[in-house]
């Protein structure tokens, strides 16, 4: 542990040189911009800038690219809060309470708490990365296909009713998500499923198209459907003293930020779309813990602080498998693997000892970068909050424009834009009849992974279902799922008995 600290200090001397600080700053600024623009996410942003780093030494290059990654995590929530358009996939959950806060004129506190929460969670994540990386990476290897499957089942059951309004409607939306997730090439046999001969559908439906469609476009359509005099109205003007969180807001947010940071870090170690799942889990936890669960969905600051902290620490944790095992667990770290390779650094078990300057320099820069982002983001809060002063009849078409350009930039695909508009229409109908978008998106993320893990498990075990219960970790998750399902029923019966007894 002492050795790690010493290395970290060396890392700070590397990261604090003028040119590395400059690259860190550039990365943070670019990342924030990429995060703010809907659609364009860290993956595309980093890939575009890799050639620009060819002339740099590997440490500076990775410092800048890492800055883009966590910068995007800071910026991603801005449009979620202001316009109900998720800036990137890990900010879907923030739409629920963040947008409600903005509608009540509290966009400022919401934006500020995101920056503060992200900073605290990022810091916790970095310390986790410094002290726990090697043992955690080894632990992640214990997860084979059966363990993933059971974990996904657990996550699916626990998180699908995240907003907790109507269980039946949530379940229906989750099933729609599973069906959408089944479109494309079958992951095992390679046959085309539900594509009806369309080449564009072979790769499945883009998650971002569904997310922006259901939330962003859907919201615009709901607004357009209102009587026209409402459209001329300006959104509530935030008063100056309400731009930053009050002491009470901060008090309320401490718990969610810390819990979000810790749970996000743990979930970040799991392969797949960890940041997305981390935000759902954090929202769920906060709602369960809260003394006022009824405020969630109506602009509870805890529902913004927790998930936004969770996605930041999850994004730090995602570097562990990359740096220690050389294996990217998600699409963003896959890009980092490529960037490292092209600079002649092969991440893997030997990386920390072979390239200590790079490893510790990058980690120290992440800490500096988080601080830069905090300073960078807080002054922007009034600016962003004032976007809501724009009359809706001007703002709404602009939102559509942003959504379309953002969507196109993800895959350079016009087909995706049509998909987004289609899901926008669906999002409108869902809003009208009070169906939740969150379970649908969760199922869309988890469904395909769950299917692959299930089929891989059975292929490895030659068709023996025992594989799910014979392995302790897998068994534990399945048991937890069963308890979660049975517990409310038992409690209900228990209460009835008690009533009857009196």
């Amino acid at each position: 542990m002492f050795e790690s600290l010493q290395h970290l200090i060396t890392g700070f001397t590397i990261a604090a040189t003028v040119h590395n600080l400059l690259y860190c700053l550039i990365g943070c600024i670019v990342g924030t911009l990429i995060g703010v623009l809907p659609g364009l996410g860290p993956i595309a942003g980093i890939a575009l800038l890799i050639p620009a780093t060819f002339g740099l030494n590997p440490t500076s290059a990775i410092i800048m690219l890492a800055g883009i990654y966590y910068g995007a995590m800071y910026g991603g929530s801005t449009t979620s809060i202001l316009l109900n358009v998720p800036g990137e996939t890990a900010s879907v959950i923030t739409c629920i309470d963040g947008y409600q806060m903005a509608q009540k004129g509290r966009a400022g506190p919401a934006l500020a708490i995101v920056a503060i929460g992200s900073f605290i969670a990022g810091t916790i994540g970095i310390f986790g990365l410094v002290f726990l990386a090697p043992p955690l990476a080894e632990a992640a290897l214990a997860f084979g296909p059966p363990e993933y499957f059971s974990l996904m089942v657990f996550g699916f059951i626990v998180l699908s009713n995240v907003t907790g309004k109507s269980f039946l409607k949530s379940l229906m939306m989750a099933i729609v998500g599973l069906i959408i997730g089944a479109i494309g090439l079958d992951p095992v046999s390679g046959d085309a499923r539900f594509t009806y001969g369309s080449i564009s559908l072979l790769g499945g439906i883009e998650f971002v198209a569904v997310a922006i469609g259901v939330f962003g476009i859907g919201e615009v359509l709901v607004n357009v459907n209102q009587p026209s005099e409402l459209l001329d109205q300006k959104v509530l003007r935030p008063r100056l003293r309400e731009l930053y969180p009050s002491l009470q807001d901060l008090k309320k947010s401490v718990g969610p930020i810390l819990r979000g940071a810790v749970s996000g870090f743990g979930i970040g170690l799991v392969p797949g779309p960890a940041p997305v799942i981390a935000t759902y889990a954090s929202y769920m936890i906060e709602k369960k813990v809260s003394k006022h669960p009824e405020e969630f969905g109506k602009g509870a600051i805890e529902g913004v602080a927790g998930p936004e902290s969770a996605n930041n620490s999850a994004c730090q944790a995602a570097f562990i498998p990359l740096f220690v095992l050389g294996i990217p667990f998600g699409p963003v770290t896959a890009i980092f693997l490529g960037a490292l390779l092209i600079h002649g650094v092969s991440p893997g078990p030997l990386m920390i000892s072979q390239h200590p300057d790079l490893f510790w320099g990058v980690i120290a820069s992440m800490y500096i970068g988080n601080f830069i982002l905090l300073i960078l983001n807080l002054p922007f809060v009034p600016l962003f909050a004032n976007i809501l002063r724009i009359p809706k009849k001007i703002l709404l078409p602009l939102v559509i424009l942003f959504c379309i350009t953002g969507m196109y930039s993800v895959n350079n695909s016009v087909f995706d834009i049509w998909m987004m508009l289609l899901f926008g229409a669906m999002g409108f109908l869902m809003r009208k009849w009070a169906y939740e978008g969150a379970p649908l998106l969760l199922a869309l993320v988890l469904g395909p992974k769950m299917e692959v893990a299930f089929r891989q498990s059975l292929m490895i075990s030659h068709g023996d279902f025992g594989v799910f219960v014979n392995r302790p970790i897998s068994m534990a998750f399945l048991l937890a799922t069963a308890i979660f399902l049975i517990f409310p029923g038992v409690r209900f019966i228990f209460k009835q008995l008690k009533k009857g007894g009196i």
């Binding site: 095992v188 564009s200 790769g203 699409p331 390779l341 092969s346 030997l350 350079n412 692959v452």
Partner: protein, 316 residues
């Protein structure tokens, strides 16, 4: 008067903008390479690096455009439909000769004009260092006695390394239990965790773990041994006549004029020989393998036929 000047100026501007298109020499604007796979993957990185060094020999910038979707079909379909003027190229990699056998695509390898082959990475099988098999002989001996018992991970059904594993089964007279994963990374993770027995990969996947002594190469399908691991014998040396790998090159849509193909070929060849690209390639542990247009075309034709047979086998 003022109006006339404005009209005149706009006309001049329009002419100015049109001029480059009418010019006979090639290239007069940037050349784009469509990558039908996502940014940051091996193919993307290789051609980004090559594009960066080729620009100065071509006289115009080389731009990378990722057009993902449909297991590569979206990018290839678009490239096939592009004007055959040499300004739109597409990275041709092994799956170009695989997917058309699996689903109905608008294109085959023959819809494109070969320009240059850049990379050929050998296939290989990795196992854990503590695996019960010390040699290829023991590995295959066990596989023969226990058909379909050894689990071999691959990076996706019908992908290059899956088909290499299927072809190796035929050459060695054994059968494995093939487990598809979403990419090379996850399959190597599953092997490290001991959830499967072996993986079929091509470098640089898993190389770091071989260096660290956690994994070992049990079967190598190249012509020659690796520079990095001179002690690892190829399967050919051990009496199984089997050499297979994955290639990556560049093609343009059918009908691109031969002199344009030549200009592109010469520029990309120089880009390949550039010391900066050579260093990038070495750092990424990719195996450079130059082939000119004709030889590259023959390679694709041969592979197309081979994969047709293997897909038939896979579907059974």
């Amino acid at each position: 008067m003022l109006r006339k000047i404005i009209i005149g100026l706009s006309l001049a501007l329009v002419l100015f903008m049109c001029a480059p298109i009418q010019a006979a020499e090639f290239p007069t604007k940037e050349v784009q390479i469509i990558i039908p796979w996502s940014a940051g993957g091996a193919t993307d990185l290789i051609f980004r690096a090559l594009g960066a060094t080729t620009g100065k020999y071509l006289g115009e910038a080389v731009v990378i455009v990722n057009r993902t979707g449909g297991a590569g079909a979206v990018g290839y379909t678009e490239a096939m439909q592009a004007k055959p003027d040499g300004y739109t190229l597409v990275s041709a990699i092994t799956p170009l000769t695989i997917l058309p056998h699996r689903v109905k695509t608008a294109y085959t390898y023959a819809s494109f004009e070969p320009i240059i082959n850049v990379v050929k990475d050998p296939g290989m099988f990795l196992v854990r260092s503590d695996a019960p098999w010390k040699s290829l002989e023991e590995f295959l001996g066990y596989a023969k006695k226990n058909p379909e018992m050894i689990t071999v991970g691959n990076s996706g059904t019908g992908g290059g390394v899956h088909l290499i594993a299927l072809a190796f089964e035929d050459a060695a007279g054994v059968t494995f239990n093939h487990i598809p994963f979403a990419g090379g990374g996850p399959s190597v993770t599953a092997l490290l965790g001991g959830h499967i027995n072996a993986v079929s990969v091509s470098p640089p996947e898993g190389i770091e773990h071989v260096k660290a002594g956690k994994l070992k190469i049990i079967a190598l399908f190249s012509e020659e041994r690796f520079e990095m691991f001179p002690d690892v014998q190829t399967v050919k040396e051990q009496g199984i006549d089997f050499v297979m790998g994955q290639w990556r090159g560049l093609v343009s849509s059918k009908g691109t004029p031969p002199d344009v193909v030549n200009i592109l070929h010469d520029a990309f060849k120089k880009g390949m020989e550039d010391p900066v690209f050579q260093k990038n390639a070495k750092d990424m542990a990719i195996n450079l393998h130059y082939l000119g247009p004709e030889a590259f075309g023959k390679l694709m034709a041969r592979e197309h036929e081979l994969f047709g047979k293997l897909i038939q086998k896979m579907k059974k």
